[in-house]
Subunit: 203 residues, 2 copies
């Protein structure tokens, strides 16, 4: 049984999409071992508990590099304690440090609401809307040391309509996120892939 660790900072709609996909068999032979948030008030923690899942808040204590390092160590320890094989970031609003990446090499996934490498960083959907693109989408990628940068597992597109607002566009992208993330997790858990340079390929 593959053990997933979910990291989130908000309501965690992608976490819920992953949970549903496990329940209905789109992600096979997997379970959510733990849901962790840096924010004790994150709605996703409460959702997790109401689903009978283990939910843990690990807020950062204090500020500065030492506090950040300590927080990282606590996150890594928790994920290790719960036997997590694959870490899935689902709206986790912190920069992942190199130490974290090294602790889970090629075992951290993230979903980003743009067709990377376009529009990395915050508010990607607004960035895309304001830029005037005609096609938007989302990207599931491995996490490496750079922000929104690792090897891409999957991308899904959505059209931008003339009558869109940034909000209607974001909602359309989110629907695709909820499909893309489970699909990508399922593929990665299968282990039947290789990476050649930056290219993720089945084998």
């Amino acid at each position: 049984m593959h053990r997933l660790g979910i990291l989130l900072s908000g309501r965690g709609s992608n976490f819920l999409a992953i949970h549903r996909a496990i329940a209905d068999g789109r992600i096979h032979d997997a379970e959510i071992a733990v849901v962790i948030s840096n924010k004790p008030e994150a709605g996703g923690l409460e959702s997790a508990r109401s689903l009978g899942l283990t939910a843990v808040a690990i807020p950062q204590q204090g500020k500065g590099p030492a506090a950040r390092e300590a927080h990282d160590a606590a996150m890594i320890a928790a994920l290790t304690d719960y036997g997590v094989e694959l870490v899935c970031l689902a709206g986790y609003m912190r920069i992942i440090t190199p130490a974290f990446v090294e602790a889970f090499p090629n075992r951290i996934l993230n979903i980003h609401p743009s067709l990377l490498p376009a529009f990395p960083g915050l508010d990607a959907q607004h960035q895309a809307f304001d830029y005037g693109v005609k096609v938007a989408g989302c990207t599931v990628h491995f996490v490496d040391e750079a922000v929104d940068h690792g090897v891409i597992v999957l991308q899904k597109t959505v059209p931008v309509f003339d009558e869109d607002t940034a909000e209607t566009l974001a909602a359309r992208i989110l629907e695709q996120e909820h499909l893309a993330y489970p699909e990508a997790i399922s593929r990665v858990l299968s282990g039947r892939y290789q990476t050649i340079g930056r290219r993720y390929l089945p084998r």
Copy 2:
């Protein structure tokens, strides 16, 4: 009758796609007034002549800013002489200067073989392939002072297949370019659009 000016530096496959679209009525009430190349040996010039179109080579004389400025002035003069209303860059391998943009405000289109703002600049298809994107495409946009930057009229996507090479991907993108460019030209020539910020919208 809308008069188009085509600028190219190579074989001009997008020029030929535009020509076909005029011939079969996808671009309505338009003609190619002149095809201009900075390269006298460009294959597109010969194709243009064999199609009975006016084809002109305007190579840059000498080097440096003054030579570049003189070349720009000669290009602008030729386009003006031939009564060009809309300038279509079709593999024109020169940076468009601010003076050129000012001479044809919102009347220069370019096609770029990526989903901008991803992969601006040269060899966009190779850039995309090497980055490992799962979706690629092309963009028709108005030309402004920055490279591959102006307001986007149209984007078309293509999938990247696991068995692709950069070359098969580039060929798949090129097919979509040949559809996208005539479609975008037709829309722009209709005049039924507005731009709000960077967003191109029909009206």
